[in-house]
Symmetry: C2
DNA sequence: GGCTATCCTGAATACTCGTTCAGATCGCCG
DNA sequence: CGGCGATCTGAACGAGTATTCAGGATAGCC
């Protein structure tokens, strides 16, 4: 796309001019609509309205509704991954990193804890290959990050996992399972309880006393400057 | 249902006469269609075709597509619960009961381990009240059964759960999370691995050696006579 | 200034699908 | 027998919606 021989390179004038900006706005609108109406309930018109444009433009940029939905998925994937990496880098030590992951997943972060969206993604992945690929990638990255923290802790002699692969898989699956309750607003399930339940399970799995993960998080989750 | 004052009571002629039979067939067809096309992809015509009748009849019996979907949910709920209860009663002792639950959930039973259907249900429950109620009821029953087994084992001095409520919630959530992998046929996830991972987690939670849950299940899961 | 490619709009189009409906079929009863 | 209510069918209807399309605006370029 950047390879167009001449094109409207740069230009620099008002931001409203940039079609890239428009595209991004549409993708974010698409994500928002999926989140609150679900994949099945998302109409081209809804996306256009949420993005403040016409339905024609949505199709102009993405070819079809399915195209817009798919690209929206890769867009959240990027956002999610960027956030995860930068957050994790900012915190040292396996204990605090594990706590941070619990924070992110329990909804403190803007993208990671977006469980309604993930539920939708899972179901769509049952029958749509793009969704399946997006989910798999997301899952693999999250699990890899978790594994890294576990291994790091084990190397430091802080954690004592009996089986790293099994522990990683169980802890990430437990998160998914608890997330269902959170997404459905099951009475009694709150972000705080989610964190407590998950960290206690982590303590069991890692052979450390539950107190190791109590106390405040080392640092409040950083807010994005804007959006 | 047997209480109709006069109606076409009995009659005894061909089975094709009984409208109750027809209703049931339609409900089961509905469940089958939901399972393989999803709620969003289920059409009245699909249901009619799967049940071997006309779309008119589906609407005649259930009023609307939404009505058919909802009644299909309460139908699976009944089937699920009936199966769970009868299976559990047939096995004595907390250890074997826990293993049985792992078996049922990992897909050995016809209804309980029907994870594709449950995934669909979760997402529908985000926005549909009937689905929400069905899911909550299903979840509560499953969790209650699990808790009963845990308490029973604790009373017998076999299990040593630190916190029964937390353990129950974590073990059932872990199942849900693992089930996602199973439903999506994630490479590396099989019913056997599902069982192993879950039972090992149970061993940790219940303070027993993992070996306690190894070995063969006490008894193969019973097959329904027909359907 | 004219020309062109890009970006954008909203009405028109075509199609899918839930629901309605005008009847067929059939067992039963008076 | 003739009527009746319950069950069942499939064609017709109409609402909703993705996609197409005929153009309008704008910016850069010759």
């Amino acid at each position: 796309m950047a390879g167009t021989t001449s094109g409207q390179a740069a230009g620099g004038s008002t931001a409203a001019r940039a079609p890239e900006e428009r595209r991004r706005r549409i993708l974010e609108a698409t994500v928002a609509v999926i989140r609150d109406r679900g994949f099945a309930g998302t109409r081209v018109t809804d996306i256009a309205a949420a993005a403040g444009t016409s339905s024609g433009l949505v199709l102009y940029h993405f070819g079809s509704l399915a195209g817009a939905l798919t690209q929206a998925l890769t867009h959240v994937e990027d956002v999610f991954y960027g956030e995860l990496e930068s957050e994790l880098e900012a915190v040292p030590g396996p204990v605090d990193r594990l706590r941070l992951m619990a924070d992110l997943a329990s909804g403190a972060g803007p993208a990671v804890g977006d469980w309604t969206l993930w539920l939708e993604l899972w179901v769509r992945a049952l029958r749509d290959d793009d969704a399946r690929a997006a989910r798999e990638s997301l899952d693999r990255r999250w699990r890899a990050a978790l594994r890294r923290v576990v291994v790091e802790g084990a190397a430091a002699g802080v954690f004592h996992p009996a089986d790293v692969a099994a522990t990683t898989l169980r802890l990430s699956s437990l998160m998914d399972g608890l997330a269902i309750q959170l997404a459905l607003a099951e009475p009694g399930m709150t972000p705080a309880r989610f964190k407590r339940l998950w960290l206690d399970a982590a303590a069991l799995e890692l052979g450390v006393p539950a107190q190791a993960f109590r106390g405040r998080a080392a640092r409040p989750v950083r807010r994005r400057t804007a959006s």
